[in-house]
């Protein structure tokens, strides 16, 4: 009598087949995703390149306009700044209700919190109200860049998530064609059409106390203190706080 060969149970055979199919699908997917990622990387590269060129051109243009004007004895009046970076200097206690509310609206709820603010008539007046509690100025590209890369956290699903991956930016802001960090920096710095969304996507920056200290928080910057508008000098302060 011939020996009966050991039979493999049908369920095991089915499972094997299913696994093989799943595996094939997964490898296919992986290749697809890898290609997509490669394309995206190239796209981001091109954009970053473009922004660098753009910035250089912008800077040189301002310079040339200035030079042209001084050549003919005229004055060149550059555009009023559109972007400000505001840092809350003072703590929580014993705040007057009006500046307290304004600081809440600016999302500056903690000392040394910073946020980007679009400058217009409305926000300028708000800044006037909270002047004694904040130090603000016009950030340079380097400041914006460093802030977003080092201290940048995103508001994802109400949570504060570090910006460790371009995918985080893309899932939230992809619709506004902001797909990477460079896009984000560009949008913030140039105050583009989607500034509000991009800025709100960023969690308020939590900065350190300045390396080297404050000069005098209770006085305005022009009096030798720290609060109020310090225009371009904010970048030096940011370098000490980022």
């Amino acid at each position: 009598r011939a020996k009966k060969l050991p039979q493999v149970p049908e369920s095991i055979l089915k499972r094997r087949k299913l696994r093989a199919e799943q595996k094939a699908k997964v490898t296919q997917n992986r290749v697809k995703l890898a290609n997509k990622a490669k394309e995206k990387k190239q796209k981001i590269f091109k954009r970053a390149e473009k922004y660098v060129a753009e910035h250089r051109q912008r800077v040189r243009q301002q310079l040339s306009l200035r030079r042209e004007a001084s050549k003919t004895g005229n004055f060149y009046v550059p555009d009023e700044p559109k972007l400000a970076f505001v840092i809350r200097i003072r703590g929580i206690n014993q705040m007057h209700p009006k500046p307290r509310k304004v600081l809440q609206l600016f999302r500056l709820r903690q000392i040394n919190n910073g946020a980007f603010i679009k400058l217009n008539k409305a926000t300028l007046q708000m800044l006037r109200i909270v002047d004694p509690y904040v130090a603000w100025g016009y950030p340079s590209l380097k400041s914006v860049h460093d802030l977003i890369y080092k201290r940048g956290y995103a508001k994802v699903n109400g949570q504060r998530i570090p910006l460790t991956n371009n995918d985080i930016v893309e899932t939230e802001l992809g619709k506004e064609d902001i797909i990477c960090m460079e896009d984000l920096v560009h949008e913030i710095f140039t105050v583009g059409g989607n500034f509000k969304k991009a800025n709100n996507f960023l969690w308020p920056f939590k900065l350190s106390n300045p390396n080297g200290g404050w000069s005098k928080k209770l006085n305005h910057f022009v009096e030798g203190g720290d609060f109020g508008n310090r225009e371009g000098k904010i970048n030096a302060l940011l370098a000490k706080m980022i």
Partner: protein, 392 residues
């Protein structure tokens, strides 16, 4: 956690009712086979049984209480303040030790206890009939599961079959000798031995209240008609006897624990379908009663959700959220991170390095080696190209 209606039968089908062989009083399998009564497929609910047992076991209690006048058979009165003694009521009069002693309070010697126990304490518990019946069904079902019977502590490794059904011959046993030889032949004597070996003096005050000894319980004999069974078996320690129409939860699940070893007589076993009904017909003897239904017909949830039918019908789980690192590292200091975020950064860094070297008039530390390697690569490339075109 238990599940509603544990299914132990290997076919996995809750409704499967196999045939049970009837054994003779000499433990020989007879030709008679009875279809397993539907009660044995009732859901096994240890929680229900435990609760009902708890309630029902309170019903045979006898009230106890302290005498109503205890501690008050004095006319004590407090001396009040100003006498340098505590204000507790004190026994009046004189001429005896008792006079002036504290009385009435629970803290006093010879005083009344705190909250004297009353006879009108609620001793008994009423239980819904349906619940009581549910518990009995569960207990019977559990008795049909060898694992549960063993887990309860019965010695059943040699018992022919569980549920164990015996011919009606044992109902007409008159002598305990016959009963014992039946138990021996049916390999049930080991369980009785267990009872003998477990006889111990009770811990606690019960030993001086006519409850001196404690021992384990053995099998229950469930009979259809008493033609002498009771008197034959009652002297055997551990054995309980129950008439099939008057099954007692306290005996079927002693201590609220399921799985007592039951020996059914043939007539008793046959009556079970009539007493409890089946899933297709209501009970004949219990008015308006049908067997309890389990919440899940197939409680093997894991198996069900992994089954082909369900897996095919169910949408795939949503893609997992973005995998992001939990710790934030500084891309301004870690080039790899920077390049991951901005691929163009490597170009900028390289340009910065080159311009710095140019400004300082410094070469790359391995400048010569790099130049040599590049020259070599160029030569190889040209040769390859020449070969290609030369061949063509």
């Amino acid at each position: 956690m238990f599940c509603d209606g544990i299914v132990i039968c290997p076919s996995g089908n809750m409704a499967a009712r196999p045939l049970v062989t009837v054994y003779s009083d000499k433990n020989e399998a007879t030709q008679t086979q009875i279809k397993l009564p539907a009660v044995f497929r009732a859901p096994i609910r240890p929680d229900v049984v435990s609760f009902i047992h708890d309630q029902v076991s309170k019903n045979k209690r006898q009230p106890y209480a302290v005498s109503t006048e205890a501690g008050h058979q004095t006319s004590a009165e407090s001396w009040g303040t100003g006498r340098a003694v505590a204000r507790i009521p004190r026994v009046r009069g004189g001429g005896t030790h008792r006079s002036g002693q504290g009385a009435f309070g629970n803290m006093c010697r010879g005083g009344r206890m705190f909250a004297p126990t009353k006879t009108f304490r609620r001793w008994h518990r009423r239980v819904n009939v349906a619940q009581k019946r549910y518990a009995v069904c569960s207990a019977i079902a559990a008795s049909g599961v060898p694992a549960l019977v063993q887990a309860r502590g019965h010695v059943v490794d040699k018992v022919a079959e569980i549920p164990f059904v015996v011919s009606d011959k044992i109902e007409s046993f008159r002598k305990t000798k016959e009963a014992v030889s039946f138990l021996r032949r049916s390999n049930l004597w080991d369980d009785i031995e267990k009872v003998y070996n477990s006889k111990k003096i009770r811990a606690g005050v019960g030993k001086s209240r006519n409850r001196r000894f404690k021992q384990k319980l053995g099998p229950v004999i469930v009979y259809g008609k008493d033609s002498g069974v009771i008197r034959a078996f009652r002297n055997i320690p551990g054995v309980s006897l129950l008439h099939v129409e008057r099954l007692n939860l306290l005996k079927l699940a002693p201590g609220g624990h399921l799985g007592r070893l039951i020996v059914w007589t043939e007539s008793a076993f046959n009556k079970l379908d009539a007493i409890f009904g089946t899933y297709k017909s209501a009970s004949e003897l219990k008015k308006g009663f049908t067997l309890p239904r389990p919440k899940m017909t197939n409680p093997d949830f894991g198996r069900a959700i992994r089954s082909e039918e369900i897996v095919k019908a169910v949408r795939r789980a949503p893609r997992a959220a973005l995998k992001t690192s939990k710790v934030h590292r500084n891309p301004l200091k870690k080039t790899k991170l920077m390049v991951r975020l901005n691929p163009y950064a490597s170009v900028l860094k390289r340009a910065a390095i080159l311009s710095q070297r140019k400004a300082q008039n410094v070469d790359h530390p391995n400048e010569k080696l790099i130049l040599a390697a590049n020259a070599k690569a160029n030569v190889a490339r040209k040769a390859k190209y020449a070969k290609k075109t030369g061949k063509k």
